[in-house]
Amino acid sequence: MNLMSILKNTTFRLLSIVFAIYTLAWLYLNLINPWNESFNNAFTDSYGIIAGIGGIAGFSIAKKWGGIKSVVGRSLLAFSTGLTFNFLGQVSYAIYFYVYKVENPYPSFGEIFYFGSIPIYIIGAWLLAAASGSKLSLASYRSKKIVSILLPISMMLLSYSVFLKSYEFDWTQPILIFLDFGYPLGQAISVSLAILTFYLSKGTLGGIMKSSVLLIVTALIIQYVSDTTFLYQTFQDAWEPAGTSDLLFTISYFLMSLAILQFGEVVDKIGAGKKLKCTQN
């Protein structure tokens, strides 16, 4: 990927500046001035803007790749929607905090967006795997078929053992039960698909888009770690604003947005009549 060309991209510059500000803010809040309540809350309630920028930019980029009429277009639409949902989820939580004075109001209206992003990311990862040649890989290697089945099951069992083994059911709150199970299990499927995309695409995925695809996979894995950390801390009643999970979310949103922008750079380059360098696997 041509670094110089993406540096000229206005959206990339905006995204990078915002990401740098939030990273520096996190370092300040955690290393130099620990626990400044209002700054910590402001951080936690606003870093989702990175996802918002990436999501909005992603919709027009997805259209250039064919929108709903192509595999890559649908994949980019899914990731853009997922990012936008993460942004809207944070806006919802911020409204709860600043308007209704409720901190971490799980479960709440925001879950429509946060939880809604999980199946959307699953669809995005599935389509990305298809574009990366995973179908060929699956058809060619029996061992890969076995891994494709075992990995999601293993991840779900791991999530269950960490979060749900000692779960106490409160049947007066069925939505809470659904979300408490849905988040870790849904995220396990999402990250499994991301890992499988990487695993199955080895040997088939190449070309100029390889780095962008792998960047999306990395972002999904980091988002899984972020979600897991957040859930674990919430269940232990140990979550604090501007903590580790918030930094990880910030990084995952930035990486996902950056990957989508790279897709945009390539399609603009081709549209301008510039040939791509033939770099196969």
Partner: protein
């Protein structure tokens, strides 16, 4: 009765159509139009040079996007043509 040139042009259109399902119509046409000695106009293509080389270059052009994954899409497209093109007419990167 199709000439060999017609068959190559049909192969190129078929590959472009298959790639369209992955990358979208606009991008697939733009990618095909970037190939040397190939003219794209009104959903038709016209080969100006050696057709076997043009076909090879088309496959390489798409391969620059997603590597072997793109080549496999091109191979699948060629399979749809059956035996219309003889083996000796198919470039190495499509075998």
């Amino acid at each position: 009765m199709y000439t060999k040139l017609d068959l190559y042009e049909k192969a190129i259109l078929t590959i472009t159509k298959e790639q369209e399902k992955i990358v979208g119509k606009t991008l697939s046409i733009q990618m095909t139009a970037l190939v040397d000695n190939l003219l794209v106009k009104n959903n038709r293509v016209e080969i100006k040079g050696d057709p076997k080389i043009v076909l090879k270059d088309l496959v390489d052009q798409y391969a620059s996007l997603f590597g072997k994954a793109s080549i496999e899409v091109s191979k699948e497209a060629i399979k749809k043509l059956g035996h219309e093109l003889e083996s000796s007419d198919i470039p190495e990167n499509l075998k």
